[in-house]
Subunit: 605 residues, 2 copies
């Protein structure tokens, strides 16, 4: 098959415009564009696998799915022999942030299409925190130019925690109302301010109401183990799904309340295995379970895969293959009211499907979207051109000054020889942190780190308005044993700059370097730059290929390891330390935040 | 509980208007209107039955569903102790025609609410055939005044078979476009012209496209056992459900294609038992199966029930109770994109639920809709006032002349002593007829009946425009042994008048009597009126109570039996003989119709 140019990625025509053509092809009156013969139809409607199935496709949609499509073959019809292999609906990622891959929507698609992803539901709340509604629009428009279905959820909580942080931008109820009218907005992105919903915060209530009035889906995010009243209050507020559960009881609680339990396997999230026991051990109806990734590193995409990885993992936990596939196809489609468009191989739906040689192993030979083969044998065939981001999207790191080591000084209370300080405790493989405390020595009036006990410094450097503001604190868990500092402008969700270091000189060097390259992540050690991933788009995304970004990120990971850090996904842990919506202790541009009480707290006890 | 007046049946407020109130109640900040304590929650989302469940209800919606709603009880909160009984979502009838009950929407609701029905999806295509779009609007508006959810499907095929019949009115694509904008239109009613869909008939294609563009559901009706190309062509045309299947393979074929298999148990349809084997024996995923009644006699409603009867029957076929209940609740709600509103006991949904003392037997103690108890112990408590139909809706039987016995003469071909004639063959318990043939004697130039072989006369009397037209033919299967004639202005779908008789004098008397009372059904024998059910509204519906209508209908049935007819649902069989969309042979105002070829055929071979 000839390579397709990006010019051929026009939006698929609405069903109603091509319905009579579908009928003509189904009846044999007109030829199909593509006929696939002799496959095993993985039927997510009936739950069956049906051998000897032919598919006829025209105008990017399935016209006929049955035992013999020979009547739909005419001159010009391309015929593909599936040779008894499985025909699987294209996989859907029900909730994810492209920015987590450090790449653009375009490069993300290039990376995941060979893994069988044909629909993504992306919540661009990272770029929204930097560039506001305009940033959402940029990714919305880029998404529409893709050869697969990239639906955009309108970010709901920008900033994530008003009053506890100042992001680069803020979205309002009026913004949500406006965005609900955009062609490619599928719903409201994860409503993270769960205490706000339960408290009837007018912004949360207003955004949710606007979404429901528009007939769209309200994404949830209830990041708490408390299944009592705060949970019930949140549910009553209208969230329709949640991907923050970690235990089987979390999944069951959500499903019972009429929500979809979204089970997440991201680069750093391992929430499927525990929760899927609700189905495999407790017999809960699987129809309300949905798989997603939430956050995937480019390295994960390149090395391990995307939704194919999640489906394989779910099968490995004991789900029937077709049940796991339902959770990444039709269940997702139904949730977003798209069951007429995607999520199954059935007449009228977009012809997004995979040819798979081993179902349990989900060995994907070929990937089709809208009837066009985009990838084969793990290699992208489509030529998807880079998307042109405007210059304003690339000049977002504003430090206001050149930082020096003294900007990271932590002055002790007058006369103190030792202080008891709060310390952010990183937990391996989990998003929540622990609120630790430590007794730290005072030297020359400044509080010192305790490197023997893995307590080093963390700083939140304001980078949206050039205020020169720096908030300093302590963090434990990275295990750095060398003199070093890591700085990142990916700093969920407000995306200032987080700098973690064992010495202040390297902290300053790292911060200044990111100011110079327009953002990204950099590691300095003893005055030398050890690793750098440039992310000039909003300080969040590279404009390079995922493989290149993955290689740079791998180099960064290796460098962090050489500094003594043995965490899985150490960089992601770094970038989450300002996420003031997930317990227990975080840092923001306004100070340290207790995310159990949602209050600013002092560094010293 | 005090009886409610009809004035209290205001439309429920949209979710978005009461969301913050729901949150306040869930959180215990405001009192609920109603709290139900200690029930067994039949959870159609998870498939579980959860003991020890409390429900808190406000503004007609569930605010809290969980283990303890004591925090929602305040002054003025009514508290009901479920005493460990089951809490079941209110039942939904996914496809039905109110007119089949011979009563108004109001009286239908009065009859079925004690049986646990809280949502109905009605297709008023009978009244549409008589009164056109105005008739649809009448029932649409009546439906909105009900204390339960009565959603209206816009009739798609009026007349059912253009060219093969002339109804009292015709609906156009423009009518469908208009109706899709009405508040209470949920989708397009069964698209019965299945050959038209497969042939890309522009009216069918236009109506379906208008429905899809409006985001509403396209109802199907594929009344054929042919699962080959005509079926595939029909599916490609956009129908989303079908209730015409009769075999397990029919149900499986529909589900595989992404349609919902609607399994029907009407007064005369017994299509659940065979098709449900797809689930109970072949393991097909039950999520795409939906239960409905399609057509229920008032007698069935009064004596046997409505959707409770169907659910009980499904359980008796071997479905788990919760699976059968899913097929009459959440599956239906999802199909019509109403899962946020109805179909489950979960926060935000309308508080439509049943208190049930035995789940497998579905013994319904109490029925609540929108948080108000409407029935208890099988007795309606709500005071639902009659709906006022305008005079024009009650003057629809226009015969144009007084009929005489000679109007039913069937003149033989010149010189014939015997003729070979087509005979409509009634099949017990099935809607299709057989195209029979019989050799009939000629007496005085007129073809005679063959009463020994159960061949009597049938006449289709034009009654919409007063043309005086009468089409005569033969029918077999009723078993009449006495001198008698039965006339009915319920004559699907064009609703002229069907007269079946063993002598022409009684045929004329019966026809004229219906002209006098404005329609209905009447049995004459030897010049005497034996039974009459008046149906002055469009000649289709009584304005009396269902019990009264049922009693009159029972008297009619008994009278038919005395005449020698031993068919189950004999009257329904009578009323379907002009239904020129279901094979094999029918009668219409234009003549005899072969419904395998959709062509008019001669009476004589």
């Amino acid at each position: 098959m000839a390579k397709k140019t990006s010019a051929s990625f026009s939006r698929p025509k609405p069903w109603a415009e091509v319905a009579t053509l579908l009928v003509d092809v189904a009846m044999g009156r007109k030829p199909a564009d593509l006929v696939v013969r002799n496959g095993r139809w993985v039927n997510v409607h009936s739950g069956e696998v049906i051998a000897g199935t032919d598919l006829a496709i025209v105008a990017g949609r399935f016209a006929y799915c049955g035992s013999d499509a020979s009547h739909a073959i005419g001159q010009g019809t391309k015929v593909v022999d599936a040779g008894g292999r499985y025909l699987v609906p294209g996989l859907c990622d029900a909730h994810m942030h492209v920015e987590s891959g450090m790449v653009t929507v375009t490069e993300f698609c290039r990376a995941v299409i060979p893994h069988g992803t044909t629909s993504m539901f992306i919540d661009p709340h990272e770029i929204a925190n930097v560039l506001g509604l305009g940033g959402v629009r940029l990714m919305h428009d880029e998404a529409m130019a893709m050869p697969i279905n990239v639906h955009v959820q309108m970010p709901s909580c920008v900033p994530s925690a008003p009053g506890l942080e100042n992001a680069g931008a803020a979205l309002t109820v009026a913004d949500v109302v406006e965005a609900m009218g955009w062609e490619n907005i599928i719903g409201l992105g994860e409503v993270m301010n769960f205490p706000g919903v339960a408290a009837n915060d007018p912004v949360m209530a207003g955004e949710i109401a606007a979404t429901v009035r528009a007939g769209k889906t309200v994404g949830g995010h209830y990041a708490s183990r408390d299944l009592g009243l705060p949970f019930h209050g949140y549910v009553a507020g209208g969230a329709e799904d949640d991907h923050e559960g970690t235990r089987a009881e979390d999944a069951i609680a959500r499903v019972r309340q009429g929500m979809k339990a979204m089970l997440r396997l991201g680069s750093a999230w391992y929430d499927v295995a525990a929760q899927i026991k609700a189905v495999t051990e407790q017999g809960v109806d699987p129809r309300n379970f949905i798989l997603c990734t939430d956050d995937s590193h480019s390295g994960t995409l390149v090395d391990d895969g995307h939704m194919d990885r999640v489906v394989r993992h779910a099968i490995a936990q004991g789900l029937k293959p077709v049940t796991a596939i339902q959770m990444a196809t039709i269940n997702t489609a139904q949730h977003f009211r798209l069951e007429r468009e995607i999520g199954s191989i059935a007449p009228g739906r977009l012809a997004d499907f995979l040819i798979v040689s081993d179902l349990a192993a989900l060995a994907i030979d070929e990937v089709y979207s809208r009837g066009v083969r985009l990838a084969r044998a793990g290699r992208l065939e489509a030529d998807i051109r880079p998307y042109d981001y405007p210059a304003t999207a690339k000049k977002t790191v504003k430090l206001g000054k050149k930082l020096a080591a003294r900007d990271f000084d932590i002055v002790a209370p007058a006369g103190a020889n030792e202080v008891r300080a709060r310390v952010i405790g990183v937990i391996e493989n989990q998003a929540p942190t622990r609120a630790l405390e430590a007794d730290l020595p005072v030297e020359d009036g400044l509080v010192a780190m305790d490197r023997r006990n893995d307590i080093c410094q963390i700083a939140l450097v304001e980078r949206h308005r050039g205020t020169g503001g720096v908030v300093n604190g302590f963090v434990s868990g990275f295990g750095y044993v060398e003199d070093c500092a890591l700085a990142s402008t990916v700093a969920h969700d407000s995306h200032h700059m987080i700098v973690v270091g064992t010495n202040k000189e390297d902290m300053a060097l790292a911060a200044n370097r990111l100011g110079q390259v327009g953002g990204g992540v950099v590691l300095f050690s003893k005055g030398r730059e050890i690793a750098l991933v440039e992310m000039p788009i909003a300080g969040l995304m590279s404009d390079e290929r995922a493989e290149i970004v993955a290689a740079k990120a791998a180099k960064l990971t290796e460098a962090m390891r050489q500094m003594g850090c043995s965490l899985n996904n150490a960089y992601m842990q770094h970038s989450l330390l300002a996420l003031v919506v997930i317990p227990e202790l975080r840092i923001s541009d306004v100070g340290l935040v207790d995310v159990t009480t949602f209050e600013k707290v002092d560094l010293f006890l």
